[in-house]
């Protein structure tokens, strides 16, 4: 970095005139990780809302026996889209929002390693998500469950729904993979002087491991989706038993991706909790190195347990036993983490801010999900639980009780850093209590519904099976969770009307580097790259009586990358190409439509747009621009 700066000096007199945009064009072309983080939050929040509405509709259908609120077909579409939307388009982008907003600040970097790719990752995700959700208005949503098991998804699903699933997820998954590589390189090469790997904040560690898992898991689903779309659109035979294919292959490929994916979801939440709890206990994280070790071990084991989703497929006793034991092993590193959080709080001066409430609420809730996980890991018992509401309760305890609690904790915690305004604490506490109580009402009873034999994904049930009351309670709980989210939105609206006056160290007990710079940070983050002298770098300086970090370099001209519309254009091209591929075998009544689609013209035009933008990017060098020290002073005053 210092050397980069020196070069910046040498060439500092070169003023490249760079077009700087304002308004909507600023957001379409931005390569600033903080703005991309906000875009991820907006888009992820939007899809989270859609997924939430789908959840409420599912619960309304199940509020009483033999209900006719939605048809069976619509119900199938709702459960499929609820799962798919929440995982791929809701919570993963919100994770990326926090990673974008926080990681460069935590490691003392001015930017991410690949600002352009970062933007590309966002836009491909967004266009993939839009494509997937267009299915609602273009002939029916995917209806084969979020796992899209064959042959249900390949032979028995006749609308274009599953095509939207394969192509939409393919495009969105590309964005996720790009984002993962960007964060890996950022964390490897862009850390401030003195920040060794074992001095990185836990959220950065968790994001690093998560990104590595994304890198190794997403290519598997890429292949799976290619195979499924080839089967459906081009008539290939991967999963067609009649032509020698094998439907179990899909299950394997899906879960080789799918199981790491659930750890991709939960590890960032572990990271958030590991930041929030020490801050509000005013104690350093207990067992830092064991936390790092546990995170790596969870990631490693996460790749070797996929077949525990397939115990009832009939893999035989050897495979079932192996995967059973491997799955139970994961409880060990997870237990290490739980105890470390408890020991961090022990003897600390705990303040119960809304952020900390979510973090503390996370611990027992997640433990409950973990315990049912170990129950499910026992292959013989799993024959009883499989495809019942017990499983539904289990994974909602880990994903909602774990991940969503973690995300809400992180959003309350870093909101002042992202937006410069403190969220209202009273409303935040109301959010926590309604959401937490609503959550347990919804899902705790589902354990018992499952044990009593209520199947997962069922559209209705007969009365007098002891299902009625618990389903009613569950629906009431779901509505209460909805109220919690609405309170959070209300909090955001109220807060955005307040003056932008959050302090740099907004919680006063900030431990990591992001709290050493203004809220929100200037576009170059650090005027001078900080020198890191230990774990919890900023806390260490404060304890030594220093008000600010020691700079590792003199004030100088800062080089920034130029904004670009090309990521948007590339993603738009993929979107068009995806639609073109999906409808390439469709019988259109309109001759013009059949001409452009059946001759692959739409597909080709879309790919030409994407490749044209890629070639443009490659041919035209980006000189970027410099922010001179005088301008830095002005920005600080403003």
């Amino acid at each position: 970095m210092a050397q980069a700066q020196a070069q910046g000096h040498v060439h500092g007199d070169h003023h490249h005139s760079v077009k700087r945009y304002t308004g909507i064009m600023d957001w379409l072309t931005t390569v600033d990780h903080k703005k991309i983080g906000i875009l991820y939050l907006l888009a992820g929040g939007f899809f989270f809302g859609i997924g939430g509405i789908e959840a409420i509709l599912i619960r309304l259908q199940l509020i009483k026996p033999m209900n006719n609120f939605v048809s069976a077909q619509v119900f199938n579409e709702l459960i499929t889209m609820h799962g798919t939307t929440m995982i791929f388009l809701g919570v993963m982008p919100i994770i990326f929002a926090l990673m974008n907003a926080v990681i460069p600040l935590q490691i003392g970097a001015r930017d991410v390693a690949f600002p352009f790719l970062n933007s590309l990752g966002f836009w491909t995700f967004l266009f993939g998500g839009i494509l997937l959700n267009l299915s609602w208005v273009m002939g029916g949503a995917p209806d084969a469950g979020w796992t899209a098991y064959t042959p249900l998804s390949s032979e028995y699903s006749n609308s274009h729904g599953v095509d939207f699933y394969t192509i939409g997820l393919q495009i969105a998954g590309l964005g996720t993979l790009i984002g993962g590589i960007n964060f890996l390189v950022t964390i490897i090469t862009m850390r401030a002087p003195g920040m060794s790997y074992m001095r990185m904040p836990m959220f950065t560690w968790a994001s690093f491991i998560t990104s590595a898992m994304i890198l190794f898991a997403f290519p598997a689903i890429t292949v799976g989706l290619v195979l499924l779309s080839f089967d459906r659109i081009l008539g290939a035979n991967f999963f067609d038993v009649a032509a020698g294919g094998n439907p179990v292959l899909w299950q394997h490929i899906f879960w080789i991706f799918g199981h790491p994916e659930v750890y991709i979801l939960i590890l960032p939440a572990f990271g958030i909790i590991s930041e929030v709890i020490p801050t509000f206990a005013r104690k350093r994280l207990f067992g830092y190195s064991s936390m790092v070790f546990a995170t790596i071990l969870i990631a490693f084991l996460g790749f070797m347990v996929w077949a525990h989703h397939m115990f009832t497929t009939g893999l035989g006793p050897v495979a079932n036993a192996l995967f059973s034991i491997a799955t139970m092993l994961i409880a060990v590193p997870t237990g290490i983490k739980i105890f470390n959080w408890l020991f961090t709080m022990w003897g600390g001066q705990i303040t119960f801010t809304s952020s900390n409430l979510f973090a503390i609420g996370f611990i027992p809730t997640f433990v409950m999900g973990g315990v049912t996980g170990v129950m499910l890991a026992s292959a013989p018992a799993d024959y009883q639980y499989h495809d019942t509401y017990f499983v539904v309760a289990h994974f909602h305890y880990v994903i909602v009780g774990g991940l969503v609690f973690g995300l809400l904790s992180g959003l309350h915690y870093w909101w002042p850093k992202m937006f410069g305004r403190m969220l209202s604490e009273p409303i935040g506490k109301w959010t926590f209590w309604t959401f937490c109580i609503g959550f347990h009402l919804t899902f705790f009873v589902q354990h018992f519904l499952g044990l009593l034999g209520m199947q997962r994904r069922i559209v209705s049930y007969l009365p007098h099976q002891n299902f009625d009351t618990m389903n009613l309670i569950s629906t009431i709980g779901a509505l209460l969770m909805g109220v919690g989210i609405l309170l959070f939105l209300y909090n955001i609206v109220v807060t955005s009307m307040k003056p932008m006056n959050a302090a740099a160290d907004a919680w006063e007990d900030g431990r990591t580097l992001e709290w050493s710079i203004p809220s929100p940070p200037p576009e170059y983050n650090f005027k001078q790259t900080p020198l890191v002298r230990g774990i919890d770098a900023f806390w260490k300086e404060k304890m030594a009586g220093n008000k600010a970090m020691t700079p590792a370099e003199p004030v100088g001209s800062i080089h920034m990358p130029s904004p670009s519309i090309l990521p948007f254009v590339m993603s738009l091209g993929l979107f068009i190409a995806g639609l073109g591929f999906m409808f390439s075998r469709e019988d259109f009544s309109n001759s013009f439509m059949s001409f452009i689609f059946n001759n692959y013209l739409v597909l080709i035009i879309g790919l030409m747009i994407t490749f044209g933008a890629m070639i443009t990017r490659s041919l035209i060098d980006d000189p970027g621009y410099h922010i001179e020290p005088e301008e830095q002073e002005e920005e600080v005053r403003a």
């Binding site: 179990v248 394997h252 080789i256």
Partner: protein, 107 residues
């Protein structure tokens, strides 16, 4: 900063590596050709024990890949710790998929 990944450019200029000749890479090339030829010959011969042939094919392929990645892709050079870690990770996950395909798809 990030250890090996960041060799300051001055250093690269100062200790100008001796410009390496093509010999080393030609040796790798010849080795690759030989390994490939052995594999093809084993199959063309036909009447060798199939189990032996399959093991031989895999061994030849793995050696060739190791040598090419080490020399041609410079993985054996300094400053490649992260690339090595992530390539091992990739090959490890790929191998779980291969194990799956061989043992747990048909039974």
């Amino acid at each position: 900063m990030a250890g090996n990944e960041q060799q300051p450019q001055n250093q690269a200029v100062k200790h100008r590596h001796r410009t390496e000749g093509p010999q080393k890479h030609v040796v790798v090339f010849i080795l690759s050709i030989v390994l490939t030829a052995i594999a093809f010959a084993a199959v063309a011969a036909g009447d060798v024990n199939p189990v032996f042939t399959i093991i031989l094919l895999l061994v030849m392929a793995v050696i060739q890949v190791f040598v090419q990645m080490g020399y041609w892709m410079h993985l054996k050079d300094k400053g490649h710790l992260m690339p090595i870690i992530f390539m091992i990770g990739g090959f490890f996950v790929a191998s779980t998929a291969i194990v799956m395909a061989i043992y747990w798809v048909w039974w």
